[in-house]
């Protein structure tokens, strides 16, 4: 098993390096940062000076070599906008997003497991139909739409919640709710589908013959056998959130990595783009390794 982790980790390191190289070269295809960083009316000389200062005048491969050299000494470059280490910027924002992502995913996965399982245990029932309609509506509603309407209703009209920002636990409610909609909707459907199959399996009859409670049968036996696609999809959604809960971060003024990354991309703050991707990619790769391990934990028949 350790060998599996080791192998996966080494592959992942190579992949992350590849990703960084890809990002490095591709971002430089997307235009000149000096024209974006400097005011529109600055002079050509000022631009040249800026490019020189930040090394953009060098050939790209040379810049890349420099970048690699700096990486070795754990220097991830400076943000040209923020005047500080790009990695510091990324690491400051990442926990904020991670908090959101983890809370939203844990809640929506847990909720989806329960709701989806119960819906599958009585397919076609009123509960099942309501769950399907509600979860799907949530999943297909535009998220900014829900976010803004949520604010208008709960913060402005009823003054129950703060509009945005961070601070008390009340600040978490709306962002988490908005973030949960899509994962919840998708996961409910995935859970429901997988559970329908599992509940028809013969071993469920054994469980019934043993005299297990309905809940134990549903959650203990059937659910456990349906988890593979669920954790895969949940993992993928988590990656999506780690990569930036952009809408929520933007609307709610949550200082996370998604907005940071988008801004950095739009403003061509290359060092920040690279650092944020390094951070999120590392997280995503680790997540994927964990999920692969989980497969083997969840299903003893799976072998690598």
């Amino acid at each position: 098993m350790l060998s599996f982790i080791g192998r996966r980790a080494s592959h992942s390191v190579i992949s992350v390096m590849g990703l960084l190289a890809l990002v490095f070269f591709l971002t430089r295809l997307t235009g000149d940062p000096s024209s974006l960083f400097l005011p529109l009316d600055s002079t050509a000389e000022a631009r040249a000076a800026f490019a020189k200062l930040h090394g953009f005048d060098q050939p790209v491969y040379w810049q890349f070599l420099q970048y690699l050299r700096d990486l070795l000494s754990l220097d991830f470059g400076e943000s040209v906008r923020q005047n500080r280490s790009a990695m510091a910027v990324a690491l400051e924002a990442f926990p904020q997003t991670l908090k959101l992502a983890v809370v939203a995913m844990v809640l929506s996965t847990a909720l989806a497991l329960v709701v989806g399982s119960l819906a599958a245990s009585r397919p076609g029932s009123l509960f099942d139909r309501v769950v399907t309609l509600v979860s799907l509506s949530g999943a297909s509603a535009p998220d900014f739409w829900v976010a803004i309407v949520g604010i208008l209703i709960f913060a402005v009209s009823f003054e129950l919640l703060p509009t945005s920002g961070t601070g008390s636990y009340l600040h978490w409610i709306l962002p988490i709710f908005v973030l949960m909609l899509r994962p919840f909707g998708l996961l409910v459907q995935v859970v429901r589908g997988a559970m329908l199959g599992a509940l028809a399996s013969p071993y469920i009859k054994t469980a019934r013959a043993k005299g297990l409670r309905r809940q134990q049968i549903i959650f203990g036996h059937a659910l456990r056998n349906s988890l593979l696609p669920v954790i895969t999809v949940a993992g993928d959604l988590t990656s999506g959130l780690i990569n930036g809960a952009v809408i929520v971060e933007t609307v709610f003024g949550w200082p996370g990595i998604g907005k940071l990354m988008i801004d950095a991309i739009i403003q061509r703050d290359f060092a920040v783009v690279q650092s944020t991707i390094l951070v999120t990619a590392t997280a995503i790769f680790i997540l994927n390794i964990c999920i692969d391990l989980l497969y083997a934990v969840l299903d003893p028949r799976i072998r690598y």
Partner: protein, 307 residues
């Protein structure tokens, strides 16, 4: 002899369509969904020639016209958008691009992701690893950056848009497929097929893929909405569809600033997206039941014996 066979098989296939239709009718929600989709398809195909350029005609003096009034004609029944164009007309005309893009992106990503996932899950060769790591890379690659790069190198166009959307959605199918394959390939019936001499391709196509497909369809149906909305956020960057062309997603995005004052601008297209996704999901869940012999009875007539 052969004549008899062919005759029976013809009537069988005719009968099959009937059976399927009957099964569809027994699931009320799925039936409603199917009707909605049929209407949508008709509107999408027949609507634009009928409506003509009403959808593009400016009416700056009736900006943000509220809905539910026939004073300006039935096309304005759902109100008017920020440039005073009838929302209803735009919904109908926009459907073509919207559904086209979403369908193409979802189908592409599902096919590519599914096929690669089958390979990655079933094969234990080096390329299985490569496929997975590439998927990891795509997952870690910010979709916006990808969009920008495509925009810069290839220029904005509908096909590039589809490429970007499909590419970013591929990993979820790939990973889901692979996860299920990992379990399925250990099942006895796969061993049995192997022992009969089935080639890997056949095992994957005949035995494994049909078991994975329902899950993929479930994801795809929801992804439909995701893709439409993602397309709308790309249009903020100029990679999305370019005006005067538009999609429901672009309409939703357009009304974004007006949620507090003119909710209808983004509500109707949002509702259209929602209903379409919902219908697709209901149908996919119906198809899932239909495809599973152990569940199919749910859609059958179940005539009981007299007692």
């Amino acid at each position: 002899m052969t004549a008899i066979i062919s005759e029976t098989s013809v009537s069988a296939s005719h009968g099959n369509a009937r059976v399927v239709f009957n099964c569809l009718k027994r699931d009320k929600l799925a039936f409603a969904a199917a009707i909605f989709l049929v209407i949508l398809a008709i509107a999408t195909l027949a609507g634009p020639p009928l409506i003509g350029d009403m959808a593009a005609k400016l009416g700056l003096r009736q900006r943000n016209l509220p809905p539910f009034s026939f004073n300006h004609g039935w096309l304005f029944f759902l109100g008017a958008d920020t440039l005073g164009r009838p929302i209803l007309a735009r919904l109908i005309v926009g459907a073509q691009n919207t559904l086209g893009i979403a369908l193409a992106a979802v189908v592409c990503s599902m096919l590519i992701g599914g096929v690669l996932g089958l390979i990655a899950g079933y094969s234990e060769r080096w390329y299985s690893q490569v496929i997975q790591r590439v998927a990891d890379i795509i997952m870690s690659f910010p979709s916006l950056l990808l969009a920008l790069i495509v925009l810069y190198t290839l220029g904005p166009s509908i096909s590039n848009l589809i490429i970007v959307l499909a590419l970013t959605r591929t990993p979820i199918y790939l990973r889901t497929t692979r996860a299920e394959v990992l379990e399925l390939r250990e099942r006895m019936f796969v061993s049995a097929a192997k022992s009969m001499g089935a080639k890997p391709l056949r095992i994957v196509v005949r035995h494994i893929a049909p078991m994975v497909l329902p899950t993929l369809l479930t994801i795809a149906a929801i992804d439909f909405a995701t893709v439409i909305l993602a397309e709308s956020s790309l249009s903020f960057l100029g990679l999305g569809i370019q005006p005067p062309e538009f999609t429901w997603g672009a309409m939703v995005a357009n009304g974004r600033g007006y949620l507090a004052n003119a909710w209808w601008i983004s509500f109707w297209p949002g509702l259209a997206i929602l209903l379409t996704t919902l219908s697709l999901n209901l149908l996919s869940s119906w198809a899932r039941t239909m495809a599973d012999p152990q569940q199919r009875w749910r859609l059958q007539s179940l005539r009981k014996a007299s007692r």
